[in-house]
Symmetry: C2
Subunit: 172 residues, 2 copies
Amino acid sequence: MANEPRVLPSVPKVPNEAQQPLTPYEPLCAIFRRYLHKEKLKFTPERALILEAVLSKPGLFQAEALADELRKTGHRVSRATVYRTLNHLQDAGILKQVFFDNKQSYFEVIAGRQANDYLICVDTGQVIEFSSQRMKQLREEICREHGFEAVSHQLHIYGASPQGRGQGRRET
Amino acid sequence: MANEPRVLPSVPKVPNEAQQPLTPYEPLCAIFRRYLHKEKLKFTPERALILEAVLSKPGLFQAEALADELRKTGHRVSRATVYRTLNHLQDAGILKQVFFDNKQSYFEVIAGRQANDYLICVDTGQVIEFSSQRMKQLREEICREHGFEAVSHQLHIYGASPQGRGQGRRET
DNA sequence: CTGATTGCAAACACTTTGCAGCAGA
DNA sequence: TCTGCTGCAAAGTGTTTGCAATCAG
């Protein structure tokens, strides 16, 4: 049998160091409404609720967990609506989806924030978010070399933390 | 309704430009056997078959597709065995899993190869593999800054290719 | 009014697991 | 012989979808 888990502990522990200010609701809501209007979609109480919940997240969150959370808090939103709305929020440029494993969807607010790279401890699964200017430059260079126009990127660095016994659980 | 797909066209088109030589079977098989022995696991015909198939892949491939392919080629391997073996190959350091979307597992041979960063065209889904020395340096720097010891990383850059109408399908 | 939205439950797709018989070492 | 391995089919999970009722604009 394999000796150790192969992927991240199921829930990356979100707290990031480059703790970012939460993006305020009003301006983002305006953006969302503009997007909805443009797409001939409607602004509903459910969508407002989900937007608000999403903006209260300091970092990564899981779709599934968000749905649970809302229902447990007494809000009446179906799972389906949560998923559908997360997609719209993505299309509106407010969220981005992050692929950490093939089990679940992770999302993160991008509007009004800037930390979008991740350093993941292979021992504890802790996720440290950061933003690297150098990375942005590198991305531009690479795209330029290929005649591409950069749109976005995902950078996940796996490493053993000082505390971690550093016993080398391999990561992808 | 949203106007465009939000994630990659289901199957990234694999062909990479930094076309790498296929890793030869014999030495890798030796590595695999050594790993199996160490873990008190057995070397079976199924495992040999899967290793061979995997090594014939020039770049990314999907677990599911590999399983189909093997069966269609007249080989008698169950899906379960394919999945189980892919995990062992990962543990043996021969493969790595890549997270491109939350639909499927993608894998890639790492032993004896070096291109492990991806430039993805947001219009066509084409995946160009490359290897960046600068990226490796950056990763070291970042880890150093956090007192981490780098293990690996995943870098996915999304961009619009010159051909692509570049009409801005957003990517994560 | 009309077309988009919602909740529900069923459908989905990929992956994992339990089990009985098989087979490396 | 003694474990581990295999195939099968069933179970699992997160996400998507069809549909009738409801609601925003």
